[in-house]
Structure formats: structure tokens, C-alpha cells
Symmetry: C2
Subunit: 330 residues, 2 copies
């Protein structure tokens, strides 16, 4: 039921993923039964392609997350998190109210051992390859230990999911020099330095995210969310500016340039990675952008399967249990 | 002596500005005498166009700001701030080590009455018009009262310098809803709300900076610096991506597209505004990007003159002295 294009694009994405999943994989759609059934039939889904888990309530995109969860216990998001907590499903995916999704997963599913706070990781495509940024909004009052754990978890993610050996980890700061940054950055840097298993390369400035100088960027949720949203908004504005300039100028050139714009959009479109991973909870939870279309939903389902199948959480647990930096190490 | 292209571009920019200033305006270049003289002569400056204030030392772009200032009391940056403090000059401009510039101005020049901490304001050009962002790096441990004062000062700046009547002020947050944000954002919002003379419109998400929904964005220095640098880096990457796509594809199209890229670059180039203003100090201080070329320096000099002539600081003092929100109001 969640997202700006629900239910159509969500159901469509699920059916697209269905074609690429194994026969043994089961796909469950949680939502208002009649609406989902209607949509499945409109899209000509074959019988038994997916099963429907009925939900009577819907949490709106702008509803206050925690309050809505409490009030709407029969919403699709609340049911989703309960199913994951009770191991009635191996992975959950939503394009609904992000705050409510994160809160539901945090409330219902336990954290992994040695994880204090989960973090949301997104992959940004750049000229220098995919960069994993964590946290982009789960935790707006981070402590050094949280950022340290984000570094470990994102490093595992980057290696296992993106295939990057020994990923270069940087901490977002406001200058490259040692002396730069706020108190949180300085204290986190010490923790990151103290773990020789991390390939920590130091401070990163905002301008360097996209130039291929690192594979993982660690930051507190407020800063990460600004980075994510700003990137979206700026790309949008620049493409609009180009379009405006082309259309008011030379219409033929505009037509010729269109496929190139599309090509670039495709290459640097983070929808390609199918949403954000909630790292640190005992389960697999993929959070999609509210604007997700079927392609993103399809990719999110495949990403969730990959995350589950590759046992990312087991690797994270191994790394954190063998680390000398513990929760009281802040 | 400061900036990646000093002394050539700095001296060139000064001479370009000279042509646009009034006869009564005096332009002083602080730097190593022989180097500046040499540059003036290479550029064929007429006698008396500018005067040279000799400085024996140079603070490098990557030198630790505060330490360098202490060690290099005869550096151009240290002398610049002393001259401003002693009212031997009405406005100062530098493209040198930003940290050192800010620190020098903060140490030597007093704050305006009722200002607790100065903030750096930059103007970002957007499709919806120029947006003033403050603070972008002077203050990484902001309190609500600091952000409140940035809002008042930026509002005056936006009105007087950019001609925007009753500028819409937003606070950078991670969601538009009231409940969103960190503790600093929530507490600042109360202060901003309590001042009816401010046109405060609430939270702003990263994606909305560029869509014309506000005129002034308030944030703490760490976040603002990330916004500024990220914007630089992302614009750079996107243009490179477009170039790459064009060059590997159709070379004729690449050639045709070049002037359009240039046009966009010009329109959305924040060098146009000539640097950042240090708001809240008793004087006029413009801080330019290290990469500044002569055009930026020229614009910075003209911006400094405008700031001084329009008595922005007097307006700021009036507004803050009549405000009911005082420094103990945090």
C-alpha cells in the first residue's frame, strides 16, 4: 500500500521480480485484499504467483511514524514488521512511510548482537563506482560507537553485495585535515583507527563523495539524509536546467540530446540499487523511496534476496563479535 | 597570496574591479611586495591603481588555521584582519585558507552587538532564484540562538543585497513534518517562530533547496559545509558524466552541446556572487573559494563594497537589538 505509486507500481514490480526469482521463493503482498486482488487481476497475474496477506489499515506517507504505528496495528507496515519478527517471512520490503518502516522494524525486530542502533545504508552510483552511505536517517543523535558499527556493517555490505574488496571507508567531515570536523567526527575517528580490520582512509569532504576516492561513507543520520535528498534535488534541478536551456534554444539539439540524458539518468540512477538497507536489525529490511516505480521494487526484492542469501547479517555478527571496540567503547 | 591561482588571478581580479570602482575607492593588496609588484607590472597596471601592503609570510592552503595564525603574525591573512580591526580598511577579501581567514576575523574583529557567533553565508543560484545558506562552516557546534541569529542576519542580507522582499526562511531538516529533525532543529524552530518579524516557513529537506521554495536556509556549520561541498562535487561529476557520454558517443553533438553547457555553468555558477560573507562581525569580510579566478575576485570586491555601502551591519544591529530573542534565550 505504500509509496506514491501504490498499489499499481508495487504490484507490477512484485510480478516482475517473480519472473526472476526461483520457483521455491515465495512472494507475499501485504495490503487491503480487494485492492491488491484487483490490481493483480488488472495486470493479468497468473494464479499463485504471489500470495496476499490482508491488512485493513494504511499508514499515509505523511502520517507521524511512531504515533501511526501505535494507532494502526492492522496497517500493512505494522503487519510486515510483525511477520518479520515472528519469522513468517525472511525479508521485508516497503516503499511506504520511511519513518514508520524504520520505527516498525526497530520496534518489532531485535537488533543484531553487538549493534546498538540500526542504520540505513544507500548506494550512490558515482563516476568512480558505487558508494555506500550510512546512516541516511535512522539515527539523528549518533554516538561514536554507532558510527563505528555503521562502518563495520557497511564494509561487510560493500564487500559482499557490491564485490568491493577491502572497501575504503571515510568519515564525512568538513575538511580533509586531521584537525577538522566536529566532536563526533573526531571521537569516531579514534574508534575507526583502533580497528585494524577496517580500511579507514580518514576524513572526506562533501565534494569528494562522487570522485571515486572512497567506497563507504559514514555519517550521522541527519547529515546522511541531507546528502541523500540534496543529491536527488540537485540532479533533478540540473537536468531541468539543461532541458530548459535546450528547449528555449535549439529544438533539434534537444531531441538529439534526449537519449544521452536518458543514458546518464540510467547510469547514475540510484533506483537501480533498489532501495536502502536497514543494517543492524535481525532480519532483512529494504526501504524504498516513496517515488519508486516497478523497476525499483523489482530490484529491491532481488536485493533483499541477495542480502538474505549471502548471509550478510552473519558476517556482520562475526565481525562485530571479534572486534575489540565494544558498545562501552564510546 | 591566497588561493590556488594566487597571485596572478587575485591581482588580475583586483585590477578588473578597479575599473568598476569609483575614483575615491582605494584598493589595497596585502602580500609579499616583490611578488605583487612583479604581477602588477606583468599585467600592465597603471601607477597608483592599487597600493601594496607588504606581508612577509604566507599561510598555506592546507596549514592548520589557528596555529598558523599564531606562528605567522606577518602573514597576509593576519595583517588583513589587523587592518580591519584597526579600521585601516573598510572591507577585507581573501581566497586563502578559509579556516585561517575566519579565525583571523573572529580573533581580531569584534562581533556585532547581540551576535554570539559569526556565520558564513553563501548564495547558491537555483532555478527558483538565489538562495542564501548560513552557516557553511564557521560554527560546527551551534546552539539554537546561533541559528536564530543566522536567520536574522541572512534575512537582512537577502533583502538588502539580493533584493528579496520578506525572504522565506527555512531550517534544514530531514523531513517537512513538525516532528522531524534533531534536537537542535526542534529548539531553533521555537525561537524562529517566536519572532514575528521573520518570515519563517518551517523545515526544508535537502531536495528542496533548489526548487525555489525558500530564499534563506539556516543550518549548523557542519551540515552547511557538507551542502556546499556536495553541491560543488555533484555538479562537477554530472557535467563530467555528460561530457564523457557525449565524447564517447557523437563528437558532433558534443561540439554542439558545448556552448549550452557553458551557458548553464554561467547561470548556476556560484562564483558569480563572488564568495561568502562572514556575517556577524564588526566589519565586512568576504571569503572566496580557493579555486577563485579573476572574475570571482572582481565580484567579491564589488560584493564587499555593496555590503559596506548598504550598511548591512547597521540593519543587522537594528534587527537584533529590537528582537525579543536574546542570547540567553536558547
Amino acid at each position: 500500500m505504500g509509496g506514491d505509486h501504490a498499489p499499481e507500481e508495487i504490484v507490477k514490480g512484485a510480478l516482475e521480480a517473480r519472473e526472476l526469482l526461483d520457483a521455491g521463493d515465495q512472494l507475499q503482498l501485504i495490503g487491503v485484499q480487494e485492492i491488491v486482488e484487483q490490481q493483480l487481476s488488472t495486470l493479468g497475474a497468473r494464479d499463485g504467483a504471489v500470495t496476499i496477506v490482508p491488512a485493513e489499515e494504511i499508514i499515509g506517507m505523511d502520517d507521524p511514524p511512531v504515533e501511526s504505528l501505535r494507532r494502526k496495528r492492522k496497517s500493512s507496515i505494522a503487519i510486515m514488521a510483525r511477520m518479520a519478527a515472528h519469522e513468517e517471512t525472511d525479508a521485508v520490503i516497503s516503499a511506504g512511510n520511511t519513518g514508520a518502516c524504520v520505527a516498525a522494524c526497530q520496534l518489532r525486530m531485535r537488533n543484531l548482537p553487538n549493534v546498538n542502533r540500526p542504520g540505513i545504508a544507500v548506494v550512490l552510483p558515482t563516476l568512480g563506482g558505487p558508494v555506500t552511505v550510512c546512516d541516511v536517517g535512522a539515527n539523528v543523535s549518533c554516538k561514536p560507537i554507532n558510527l563505528y558499527q555503521y562502518a563495520v556493517m557497511s564494509s561487510v555490505y560493500s564487500t559482499r553485495i557490491l564485490g568491493i574488496e577491502n572497501p575504503r571507508i571515510a568519515i564525512m567531515s568538513i575538511g580533509e585535515e586531521e584537525s577538522k570536523g566536529n566532536d563526533l567526527v573526531k571521537r569516531t575517528r579514534e574508534l575507526l583507527r583502533s580497528d585494524p580490520s577496517l580500511n579507514f582512509i580518514g576524513n572526506l569532504e562533501g565534494r569528494d563523495i562522487f570522485d571515486g576516492s572512497c567506497d563507504v561513507v559514514i555519517c550521522e543520520g541527519f547529515v546522511g539524509n541531507v546528502i541523500l535528498k540534496l543529491t536527488e534535488g540537485l540532479v533533478e534541478m540540473l537536468f531541468q536546467a539543461i532541458k530548459h536551456e535546450l528547449v528555449t534554444g535549439d529544438l533539434r539539439l534537444a531531441m538529439e540530446f534526449k537519449p544521452i540524458m536518458k543514458e546518464i539518468y540510467k547510469k547514475y540512477d540510484y533506483h537501480e540499487y533498489g532501495g536502502a538497507l536497514l543494517l543492524g536489525i535481525d532480519g532483512t529490511s529494504v526501504i524504498c523511496h516513496g517515488s519508486s516505480k516497478s523497476r525499483t521494487i523489482k530490484n529491491a526484492i532481488l536485493a533483499a534476496k541477495k542480502f538474505y542469501t549471502l548471509k550478510i547479517n552473519e558476517r556482520i555478527m562475526q565481525r562485530l563479535s571479534s572486534s575489540l571496540v565494544k558498545a562501552n567503547g564510546q
